[in-house]
């Protein structure tokens, strides 16, 4: 494994940790897989389609999201949105995230 791939692996790991939070943050309103993917990518969050779609299902099975098939349109789509538990979890995660940023900033500042 060369230096570059070590670095890219570490970056991928860092991102992976933030993915759930980013996804939950976008689901205050109903979204289907592809619209969410586009939303995230315009906001600069890099997530693969092959990662996002299974992630949505996993979050649903954990009870953080609820889903509904919309068959009214020409293309049937599965819409996801936060469940009450999901909202609660999201709020706690955001708090945790703020704390993490502060701590990390502190550590990084000291190092400089």
């Amino acid at each position: 494994m060369n230096d570059e791939s070590i670095l890219s692996n570490l970056i991928a790991e860092l991102r992976r940790g933030t993915q759930v939070l980013a996804v939950l943050g976008q689901l205050h309103k109903d979204q289907y897989g592809y619209s969410l993917l586009q939303d995230l990518s315009t906001k600069g969050i890099k997530i693969e389609a092959g990662t996002l779609y299974p992630l949505l299902r996993r979050l649903e099975s954990q009870g953080l999201l609820v889903s509904q098939w919309d068959t009214q349109e020409t293309r049937p789509r599965k819409y996801y949105t936060l469940s009450p538990l999901g909202l609660e979890t999201y709020t706690s995660l955001v708090k945790e995230w703020q704390l993490l940023i502060e701590t990390m900033n502190q550590i990084l500042k000291e190092e400089q």
Partner: protein, 310 residues
Amino acid sequence: MNQWVERYIYAVSKKLPVSMREDVSKELRANIQDMIADEPLKEEDISDILHKLGHPNQLANSYRGKERYVIAPEHYDNYISALKLFGVIFVIVAVTTIPLTVYVDGWRTVAKELFRSLSEGLLNTFTWTTIGFWIIGSLGKNEAKETWKLNDLPELPKPNQSKISRGETIFEIIFGVSFGLIFISWMQNGFPFFNMDIVGPFLIFFYISVLLDFCVGIVKLIYGTWCIPVVIVSTIEKIYSLIFSYFFLRSDFLNHEIYTTIADNSEYSIETIKNTIDLSKEILLIVIVVGTTVSILTMFYKVYKVNRKA
């Protein structure tokens, strides 16, 4: 909908537990359709989009999460069918041998033996099938290569193949084999109608006939549709029984004492009785020839119909 997309979805879904398959396929199809959107459907574009989703095995792994299992989900269906098949074969063998064992040993031993062999046999079937599939599962790791091509995707199964009813087949095997065995044992044990000097050499061919019948039944159970292997074995079996019936019915297999016995108890002459029986044999032969030909033709027609639709 694009063939490649369907093949991709199939490749993913067949590696998922049955309970997830339908919903994941539907959602994946909708998402891919969204990704294709209004782009022109060139093969390269489709390939790009599918590659964005990753290798089908990789995607299936993500959908499944990190569950632990003895039987890998992609083998689960085959595992269940194998269990059923081996179980059924076992029960058929056990049941069809009943008449023979009853004949030899009497009822009580049979009931005891049957219970013992059924419970032991079924447990063995279960154990070895499970171990076999566990080994297959641990050997074939779910590889997800970095580079893959559209052509690597598995072919979609043909939808229109006409099914062969399992229940009917099982009944056919049990009935056919036990009737065949009973018939053979009757003849062997000097059933007075038969001329044993003539029938004796035919016995081995009766056994082959029963064996063929059994094999055809098993092949039908395995494939479950009128596909080429089933048609081939069925045709062989039918042609065999046709040739066999011809030679057997044309032989002088009846005991001549029958003619005298019937003549003694009726007003007909031996000559008339012999002629009547010979005529019945001829008619029976014609019925068998016509019946077999019709059933072979029906079978080929079924296969033709399926392939025309596909």
